[in-house]
Point group: C2
Chain length 335, copies 2
């Protein structure tokens, strides 16, 4: 009998996250299938659909190569709305700040949030701040909650054998950068978080290929392997990844090996996995490559009729390796 | 030169809160007059107006007479929407939980949140949970962010000499209950938080008296005196309170005296201050008294042509006492 909340890492991570999720859905009377990156509602009859989503950021350290907790908080919620196909409009911001926090650090974070919001064309419209005693919070936590609007008629479509799996760039950069920073590795020049907003990239695709895109999700906590497992779970198809096509930076590979973790299970903060119709995959890819956030896009896998419900990788030496549903690490406070 | 965030209490409280507020508005490019209990937007041309608001709850202790952090988090955001005149529809919930937190306590809080949401007729539709290491948060923090819809054509109207000030019940119950609990006072039988949702009370009033109600706000942090000061600040009128009409429980008076704090500056969590046209004040009061949340409603003051910009109390012995803009206590982690 589990009596206490434990940290979501190590072998207990998955179970603990499931337990908390189960408790919440049970007490709040939600169904598991209702839980998505965002809640969708129609403000009034005949208006377009809107999306509503929330996320709290507790990343440690709060400043890291490629970003900081503020930029992450803006982009994280922008991305949760974007992968639903909604255009992010408004964000609320809720701060919990520890007594003793440097005002100059707060200013850096606020400035970074404003820059990220402007870059993503989203407006911060309301907020709240709480200060707690020293030792009662770890520096600063930021909640961002967002409202977005569905402009195109994007929707989830049935995934079929032959559909392709696309990612818009390199894998594992955010999580590995945070881990390198925590471990004070000094040999990681060039390694930085991929923290970026996905809305411009995605909304352009959604407009140009409304019928070709079947599913989108940002592979944050749990990484690429977890998102693909969620897609395949219980379905009559499997998902095959081509190892030689996976865009992973050498620095990311290096740190992953030292830490003994697999970049496929590591959080990304500026990436989207897109399942797309086979016949349109190259066109979607070409369109993505024209943009800053999609210039390193790759087709990394496909939906196959073997290994139903599973995700596996065809390795460069011709072998096969099943990528199980997150049994290993789930690093705490990566986002 | 202030370099660090300090706790929002003692004589520095007001200055620190102002400093943080100023930094946020400066960096985010907001104007001070844009900052309200909620942001108002129109989803599409010709639709009704909607409101969007956020609040993070860090109350300590998390369980207290009359409620807990979960009930407070639901009602707090319901009330921020309600005092704008909007009907609360949806809430998001963001948890930060400390490693080691008892699962039985989490279940109590979740159950309490669901009960509060049902009672307020609002739906929890999306959420997020982060677990942090032991010592990196104080048990549990909860962010709630809400969306509401303006059904009646309620709006702020110019306040005039003669307008009456109404409150829907007793003053200072929430803050004083928390302080009594923290100080482990044992003589406070009957003392409990007023934590309650205001939407049913307010929306009924808004429908019946759309033209009579000029201003509403919930006197949470800073209490009744702070809300009235905000209303009077810079205006050509003053606000007079009648001391003998102030509904304050004997237990609240007792604990306040021991702690040396004024209940007029203490947070309430189920109260609304309403400025209403003189001629309709008694009708509004009668309507409020029919409801559970308004049965102890009182007219506690009026808008006068003396002491412009100030709030003062006419005492029971015929004296006058200015109630300044929060120079004294602002207790941390009351909500």
């Amino acid at each position: 009998m589990v009596e206490k909340i434990t940290l979501a890492h190590g072998s207990g991570g998955k179970l603990m996250n499931q337990l908390i999720g189960d408790l919440i859905t049970k007490h709040f009377g939600m169904k598991e299938e209702d839980i998505d990156d965002a809640y969708v509602f129609i403000p009034e009859p005949d208006t377009k659909r809107f999306a509503f989503t929330t996320d709290t950021f507790t990343v440690s350290p709060i400043f890291f190569p490629g970003g900081d907790i503020g930029k992450l908080a803006i982009n994280g919620t922008v991305n949760d709305l974007s992968v639903m196909g909604a255009k992010p409009l408004f964000l609320s911001v809720g701060f919990v700040i520890e007594e003793g926090f440097l005002i100059s650090d707060l200013e850096k974070i606020l400035s970074s949030m404003k820059g990220a919001a402007d870059y993503a064309s989203v407006r911060i419209v309301t907020g709240d701040t709480k200060v707690v005693e020293q030792g009662k919070a770890d520096r600063i936590f930021i909640n961002t909650t967002g409202i977005g609007k569905f402009e195109a008629d994007i929707q989830r479509r049935p995934i079929e054998i032959g559909d392709k799996v696309i990612i818009n760039g390199t894998i594992g950069d955010h999580g590995i950068s945070i881990m390198a920073e925590r471990n004070k590795f000094t040999f990681t020049r060039g390694l930085k978080s991929d923290c970026a907003p996905l809305n411009h990239l995605i909304l352009n695709l959604v407009k140009k290929f409304p019928e070709s895109i079947k599913f989108m999700r940002d592979p944050t906590r749990g990484g690429v392997a977890s998102v693909l497992n969620e897609i395949a779970k219980g379905k009559p198809f499997g998902i095959k990844l081509y190892e030689e096509m996976l865009p992973i930076k050498e620095e990311v590979k290096g740190v992953s090996e030292i830490l003994g973790i697999d970049p496929l299970y590591i959080a990304n903060e500026g990436k989207v996995i897109i399942i797309v119709k086979d016949k349109d995959a190259e066109d979607v890819l070409d369109e993505m490559k024209k943009t800053k956030e999609g210039k390193d896009a790759h087709i990394i896998g496909e939906v196959i009729d073997k290994y139903p419900g599973k995700v596996y990788m065809e390795t460069t030496i011709g072998g096969r390796r099943i990528l199980p549903l997150l049994t290993g690490e789930q690093l705490p406070r990566i986002c």
